[in-house]
Amino acid sequence: MITAFIDGPLWYFSLAVFLIGVSWRMFAIFRSGSKPDFSVPRRSVAVSAVMTSLRRFVPRHEMSPRIRLHVVAGYMFHLGLFALLLFAAPHVLFLQENLLGFGWTPMPYWAFILASQIAFTGLLILWLHRLLNPVTRLISDADDHVAAVLTFVVMLTGCLALMEAFTGLRVLHRFSVELLMIYFPFSRLMHAFTFIPSRAYTGALFGRRGVDA
């Protein structure tokens, strides 16, 4: 009964909350707009937006030594997570059968293990950095910790269910994913969708004034 609930109604509910919530948040951001700027643009707004979006993938030279660990761990976690999310064989099959109707070549088993180890290492380091660094500890609140714990649990239950031999483990993973999807639109996890518009907006705004952002 619990399995049927998690595989059925709760899945559709969490999917609806995720899609509507994310859409609403993005709509609200874009609708807020910006003040009209009548000055003569110093640079191309579009080029500045694109350049800043790309430039922010690399830390500023002045900041590099101080945030090296943060950057490396950040890339480890995010790249590992996206590899797992999009190329893990069970995920590709799930997306093909339940959402998209088509699939793609999944990662081999060894790549899955490697990606998850890289992602776990990155996530643990980032979380420890958040807890142990006085500045990140100060600016962190419950939302950050809930998001980190949920993401960790989702990854862990997914890896524990890797053999797909037990329904209970698969359902546990799915349940944790559903909790994450429900939590997602209300949390800073939204940065997965907002980071590019945010960079582009900043780049466009400063580019128009002739300032490197």
Binding site: L69, I113, S116, Q117, F120, T121, L124, I125, L128, H129, L132, N133, P134, V135, R137, L138, L156, C159, L160, A161, L162, M163, A165, F166, G168, L169
Partner: protein, 363 residues
């Protein structure tokens, strides 16, 4: 009419009794074959027609491995004789010994704390601090600690679950827990090795034997003789723990890799030996970890701060690591409590406007 009533009550009673009996029979029926088998009357013995053959194979004088065209390690061995001995060793010696050692050490630590109540700061807090561990060191420490605790829990489930968990949860639930533990253990194992190499790189220079270490051991870290023995950045006990973690950790990691990737020609005896070394090493580290956690928390006042904030009270340093404290004093590395509070943005400072210089405030 009374007779009729009694007859009705009796029939109801009979019906109830029959129902209970039927229920009891239904419940007892599944256990009947086992009950018969375990009863005093011996069940009819069915002789395995191949028993003689297999006994001959197992007990023959000739080499165990025969010739076969099947390619693969041990593919020519019909019966692995050592496997049964190894299974017996695992079930009858390794698991009980591991349980006794872990339980015993845990009990000793608790008993020790109840008697000694930990080591207090002799002169209280000074309110001044030394930086003991940088952020990278603390992140590394907690990374290894987190991974090791996860590995210890999943490993203990795999080692002792058959004895400890099956009687509690039953076979089906245990099979789920064991499968999850195995996946998790194999996944996090290599991370422990990575963390271990990090620990080695970061801390090796401070853990070489030095003058005074022998004296520290002779005084058992201050328990013999009353006076706290002199020590540098790490005392001899901490150095011993470091090298134990490194050597036993590397042994566990190597044997773990041998077990996790059985594609490089490992034969059965090597796998069995690896599993024994892996288990014994892990139990050794787990028991050591109890002491490490105790000394780092309740066993020694103000110790934990070194791994949370990175700073230790000057009096703590002078009491436990006097040589290092002298060196810090000589360098002028002491910082005041106010400075530390600013650095650490201690509780209560959140959302507060940054302090202005006094001159600016006067305007």
């Amino acid at each position: 009419m009374n007779n009729n009533k009694r007859t009705g009550a009796e029939s109801h009673s009979l019906l109830f009794s029959l129902s209970v009996l039927l229920l009891a029979l239904m419940l007892a029926l599944p256990f009947a074959p086992q009950a018969r088998a375990g009863g005093t009357e011996p069940a009819a013995k069915v002789v395995n027609p191949g028993a003689e053959l297999w006994r001959e194979v197992r007990q023959r004088e000739a080499p165990q491995a025969g010739a076969t065209q099947v390619a693969g390690m041990d593919s020519g061995v019909l019966i692995n004789v050592g496997g049964e001995q190894w299974r017996q060793f695992r079930m009858e010696q390794l698991i009980p010994a591991a349980g006794a050692l872990i339980g015993g050490v845990l009990g000793l630590v608790v008993l020790f704390h109840l008697i000694k109540r930990g080591v207090p700061l002799e002169h209280g807090r000074s309110g001044n601090y030394f930086l003991r561990f940088k952020e990278i060191d603390r992140i590394l420490h907690w990374f290894v600690a987190t991974v090791f605790i996860f590995l210890a829990l999943t490993g203990l489930i795999l080692l002792t679950g058959r004895v400890v968990l099956i009687p509690v949860f039953g076979h089906e639930v245990f099979s789920v827990i064991a499968s999850a533990s195995k996946e998790g253990h194999n996944l996090f194992g290599p991370l422990f090795l990575v963390g271990l190499i990090g620990l080695l790189i970061r801390f090796v220079s401070k853990n070489f034997p030095a003058k005074g270490d022998l004296g520290w051991f002779l005084k058992a870290g201050g328990f013999v003789g009353g006076k706290h023995p002199s020590a540098g950045f790490f005392n001899a006990g901490e150095k011993m723990w470091f090298w134990l973690v490194i050597f036993v950790g590397l042994t566990i990691s190597t044997t773990g890799l041998i077990l996790e990737f059985p594609f490089f020609g490992q034969d059965r005896p090597m796998m069995e030996l690896s599993l024994v070394l892996h288990g014994v090493g892990a139990v050794l580290l787990i028991t050591g970890l109890f002491g490490h956690i105790y000394v780092g928390t309740a066993g020694m006042e103000a110790s934990l701060e070194s791994m949370t904030t990175g700073y230790v009270d000057v009096n703590w340093a002078r009491q436990h690591h006097d040589q290092w404290a002298e060196a810090c004093d000589a360098e002028g590395a002491v910082i005041s409590g106010e400075e530390l509070a600013k650095k650490q943005r201690l509780r209560g400072t959140k959302n507060r406007v940054p302090d202005r210089p006094a001159a600016e405030e006067g305007r």
